[in-house]
């Protein structure tokens, strides 16, 4: 860490007001006017890759708003958190989106939810809040009560889908057979070629962060965190616990770390198999779809055996895990995984025989490496564009230091590369599980003294099947968290779709969208917007029920 701090001072010099080393990262305080040049220094000078923007209503701590820009220094194996403190009356900060494309959404989110004005941002539209949301009402500010439900004025919008003779606007969503979650892509299609894409998401913003900050105690949050995603929920669970543990300086027993890694890898296998199935389905190859899911089923059984539940494992608490593994279940894990590997091997080999599927994967949905860096894409999307990024290696957590594994990287930048990355990762995950089981140490599974002091910062990353998932936590009083920020992998990957879909044949668009394995519920975390008709409004449950009957 000393090296990291030294390097930071070498590059940034006197712009650092103060630094603080935390677990997994370094927090540096800078003046708001220096922000852009500091970010330039981090990205250009140190190869930092954009991770997330966190806004904090810190008026309860030091009477300022904080805006924290997190970059991952993969080579130095650390995160840099650049913090600017802003005036409590009129928080304003310069935008970094012109130099870091990926920060587009992050900055808009901070503006929407905390009212921090972002000067010079290229996109003035709201990202998360629906149209008609009252002005000067910011849901993540501490003076906005959890129970408050503002009335939306002006529930209409002047949104009209573009139409012309040549360009057809195809609505993909909010409900579309391809995407089984509510989000909206508008593909502008000329003949069979996509010329432009509009995206609108956040239809199902659930306010989980607000819920965690206001109503839950810190040991209840993991169960809510797990429900951010229905496929890779456990990563959020682990990531949150790690962030709190990092903040509070809790040492988690080794056996608990192994169990976390074990379950995370089981989750990765099931998630990748699920994705392979969906990819086959999107390509019209339902036989592959069914067989991928057939192979996946024993993995689900494994998860249930290890944790007590097929999904939403719920075995994590701050300080360790709740459920131990026994010899019996470990034997079963080894046996079942061996069979899964055989079946999977056969599946992958058979898939190559389906020529039309292979042909459609190759050369479609190109995301060049330079764009991948600028958008800060993560996970298989990054690794399919030749970026060697994997949180398990770059910022080791849980028991990943104890296992040796390869990080598959492909540099063709197309859908095929992204598929191959996932295909290889399943093999690696099986190998990781085997290694961890061999080394599984005995001992307690929960830290003895779990004390969470107030106003400490914690940051943590976990490699989800879709990429890097990060959580930022400031601990609070009365065993609650003061600020909990979640950034799911798809949040960074979806904006890059604009690049991938450009000039792509329409028939490849669904696959390309699917190729980042988008998880919209993760991304949306956060009011009903009916975009198809252009009307955006909130519907209460009773109206919805009445409509359902019509």
């Amino acid at each position: 860490m000393v090296d990291v701090v030294k390097t930071l001072y070498e590059v940034l010099g006197g712009k650092i007001l103060r630094h603080e080393v935390i677990r997994d990262g370094v927090v540096i305080d800078v003046r708001p006017e220096d922000l852009v040049s500091v970010v330039k220094g981090i990205t250009e000078g140190l190869g930092g890759i954009y991770t997330v923007v966190v806004g904090v209503d810190g008026r309860g701590i030091d009477n300022t708003y904080h805006s924290i820009y997190v970059f991952s220094l993969d080579e130095l194996k650390t995160y840099v958190l650049i913090r600017v403190r802003l005036s409590p009356e009129d928080p304003k900060v310069e935008s970094i989106t012109p130099i870091v494309k990926g920060a587009n959404w992050g900055e808009r989110e901070v503006r929407d939810l905390l009212g921090i004005e972002v000067l010079g941002h290229p996109d003035p539209r709201t990202l998360i809040l629906p149209d008609g949301w009252p002005s000067n009402t910011y849901p993540l500010r501490k003076d906005f009560s959890y129970c408050e439900r503002p009335r939306l004025d002006n529930p209409g919008s002047n949104y009209v889908p573009q139409r012309s003779e040549e360009v057809v606007a195809l609505p993909y969503g909010p409900y579309h057979p391809l995407l089984h979650e509510p989000e909206y892509f508008e593909l502008h299609v000329k003949g069979e070629t996509v010329v432009d894409v509009e995206y609108r998401g956040f239809h199902v913003h659930r306010g989980i962060e607000k819920l965690g900050e206001s109503r839950l105690t810190y040991n209840q949050v993991p169960f809510v965190a797990e429900r951010i995603c229905g496929i890779c929920g456990f990563v959020h669970n682990v990531c949150y616990c790690q962030a709190v543990e990092n903040a509070a300086g809790i040492e988690v027993p080794e056996r608990a770390l192994y169990i976390r890694s074990l379950v995370l890898e089981v989750e990765r296998i099931h998630s990748h198999l699920l994705w392979l199935g969906v990819a086959c389905h999107v390509l019209g190859f339902d036989t592959g779809f069914m067989h991928a899911w057939r192979i996946r089923e024993p993995v689900m059984y494994l998860a249930e055996l290890l944790t007590g539940s097929r999904k939403t494992y719920g075995i994590n608490l701050v300080g360790g895990v709740r459920r131990d593994v026994n010899r019996d279940s470990i034997e079963k894990v080894v046996k079942i995984l061996k069979k899964v590997k055989e079946e999977y091997d056969h599946f992958v080999k058979s898939l190559t025989s389906v020529k039309e599927v292979v042909k459609r994967l190759e050369g479609s949905g190109i995301l060049p490496k330079s764009e991948a860096i600028s958008y800060g894409v993560v996970g298989p999307t990054a690794r399919g564009s030749g970026l060697k990024r994997d949180v398990r290696v770059d910022h080791p957590y849980a028991a990943y230091k104890e296992a040796s594994f390869r990080v598959p990287v492909y540099s063709e930048c197309d859908n095929m590369s992204r598929l191959l990355v996932r295909v290889d990762e399943v093999y690696e995950s099986i190998s990781i599980i085997d290694q961890l089981i061999d080394k599984l140490p005995s001992g307690p599974i929960m830290a003895e003294d779990v004390e969470v002091p107030e106003f400490r910062e914690g940051f943590s990353g976990v490699e989800a099947p879709r990429g890097e998932d990060v959580h930022y936590v400031i601990t609070g009083r009365f065993s609650k968290v003061y600020r909990w920020k979640v950034r799911a992998p798809s949040y960074n990957n979806i904006p890059a779709l604009k690049v991938m879909l450009h000039e792509c044949p329409l028939s490849d668009a669904p696959l390309t969208i699917a190729s980042i394995d988008p998880c919209f519920s993760c991304t949306d975390r956060l009011v009903v917007v009916d975009v198809l008709t252009g009307r955006k409004f909130r519907v209460d449950l009773r109206t919805l029920a009445r409509r359902g009957k019509l």
Binding site: N219, T287, H291, E297, E304, H346, S350
Partner: protein, 168 residues
Amino acid sequence: MSRLSWIKKALEVGVVTRKYPFEHAEVPEGSRGLPEFDSSKCIGCSACANVCTPDAIRVVDDLNEGVRRVEYFVGRCIFCGRCAEVCPVSAIRITKEFELAYKDEVRFIIELKLVKCSNCGKPFTTTRHLNHVLGKVGEGLPELMTLCPDCRRKSTVNSFITPVGGTV
């Protein structure tokens, strides 16, 4: 490999899906399902309600009837099993039962008699809870046990003060 390998594989593995609702589905040992409440053991301490993330378990005091109700609503339950973990008298057991769709809001309700404060008459906890605590502390301060937390505090303070002067 050729395309035929798909057909060959399918013939080899046979049919793997099941006619589920007509055929029983087996879940592994230790799978977390419906929590079972043992009303004979419950002492109404609210520990389960405190850890319950989705508020599936609620503890409501009915002052008119002088009872405490522990309510469980399966529709909100996330089956995390935290309630069973924290129950001091092991009154909650996690079963493997997972077929839980009902027509009505099914609630498990346990009613427990409340104890009135011997001083102010305000109900403050259940008889069972009191006995449970009594069993833990052994003999000691039985006269304080029948007081509500407020009166207890006052009484304790009084016990310090009485030797010097009159009551507070």
